[in-house]
Symmetry: C2
Subunit: 281 residues, 2 copies
């Protein structure tokens, strides 16, 4: 596996390859969720690029940029074992040089959920992803459904800007108790980790609700299971527009209803989501 | 010459070509200035795409979007004579479909000059140019120096976003009296057209000022020649940052000093610019 830090070198390399390229953009601290995206990428394209970059643009001033886990050596070893073709690990000072002043932003889809809780976050995500697509010359880019809003925002950007890359959705990979894999899970103490098990429990419970349920039933069901866990948001949205639906709305009236949750356990923010089954709009 | 309206078809066509592609983005109503850009493009690349699109995103609500000249048939005939490979003339409703919600913006360079006079203008320009670069699969894109700020903004976007396209500057083409060619010149009545001759006169005069001149000398010289013509702005800026320099600053202290002018003659807004020679910073 080639490891490159310079955007120019990666761009040159990937353009010389010929054949198709799939990109898996990550912030590192890789877990089985990431590795499943890499495997999906390998099934799609002739070559696979994985990027590891803890993107400062997508962190707010009070967020965990500094303490975000950085495990490049271990990540490189995992990717090498999977025979990834190229690991791109840029330095922030080179990827955003002095005078950097361009932003890519998506309105609408970013107004709710994590977009509301984390101002500027998605602008950082879309800007870095556009750069990564250009540098990697990607025909495909694979994003996990754990960050479902991010996935929808990227899909919108790709459509709107005619980017010649196909976005592929990778299913959430979960721990044995159901907790969605996340690099941030390692922040949790043993006790917090046990408590975090209620998150996938809530997700599984709302997914079992029938087609006759209303948004209020979903929210109450989730709240009941989460108990004393601090809630950032609980919402039901249509997948198309991600606009939170009113509590009184019947799930059967919502096209592709989807449940979204963000909680805080100690200092650690966790998110999860699920399509709401049993519903045929 | 192929004429296509669908972004998808253009993207498919240009990606199948192989070899290099140069793009000349225009809003149509082509004149000799545009044609010189097409010739530059032909000298650079195996294939040339010209786009003609009066981009609604870059017009303010009180600007001339509706009356902007549209002469597609005549433009196509001119480009066909030059053996352009592909004319891309999208429809706004297809290029910005329902739900379109992504913007590309450059800060800093867009704060002054036309960016200050025309809020949102450059965001419209950068968004459409990014789309055109993706659709045309361009290795080169040629922009005229008449819109010098636009050129600098596009150069910044390309650098910041790692776009794999090289921006080429095309020199201003002028009428016999020196007026910079512009599709908007056709708005002028005969009397206004005579009066407009003072604009290149002012540009030529400030260019002749010596290295010992100050910004104030440049501005006074231009004002003296423009006489009663309504001035939108007159500024001297460094080419690098386009920040207006104070009147008291000596040209010799400004790296690559550049003079910028925007005037209004009747309802018609005209711009021009020149590097200030006689100065070696």
């Amino acid at each position: 596996m080639q490891i490159l830090h310079s955007p120019e070198e990666v761009q040159k390399t990937t353009r010389e390859w010929g054949g198709t390229v799939a990109l898996v953009p990550t912030m590192g601290a890789l877990h089985a969720g990431h590795l499943s995206l890499v495997e999906a990428a390998q099934s799609l394209a002739d070559r696979v690029v994985v990027s590891i970059f803890v993107n400062p643009l997508q962190f707010g001033p009070t967020e965990d940029l500094d303490k975000y886990p950085r495990t490049l050596e271990q990540d490189a070893s995992l990717l090498g074992e999977l025979n990834v073709d190229l690991l791109f690990a840029p330095q922030a000072a080179e990827f955003y040089p002095q005078g950097f002043s361009t932003k890519v932003s998506v309105s609408g889809l970013t107004a709710s959920l994590c977009g509301a809780s984390r101002p500027g976050h998605f602008e950082g995500v879309t800007t870095v992803c556009l750069k990564l697509f250009q540098v990697s010359n990607a025909d495909f880019a694979v994003f996990g459904e754990k960050d479902f809003q991010q996935l929808r925002v990227i899909e919108q950007m790709v459509d709107d800007l005619n980017l010649p890359v196909k976005i592929i959705r990778g299913a959430i990979v979960r721990e044995t108790d159901g907790l969605a894999m996340s690099s941030r899970n390692r922040y949790l103490t043993a006790e917090q980790r046990r408590s975090a098990g209620r998150v996938p429990e809530a997700v599984a419970a709302v997914r079992r609700l029938g087609a006759d349920a209303h948004v209020s039933d979903v929210l109450e069901c989730a709240r009941g299971i989460l108990g004393e866990i601090e809630i950032d948001y609980l919402e039901v949205c249509s997948e198309a527009d991600l606009r939170p639906e009113a509590a009184s709305t019947a799930l059967s009236k919502i096209p592709s209803p989807h449940f979204f949750l963000a909680v805080k356990i100690g200092q650690t923010r966790l998110i999860d989501n699920t399509p709401l089954h049993g519903v045929t709009p």
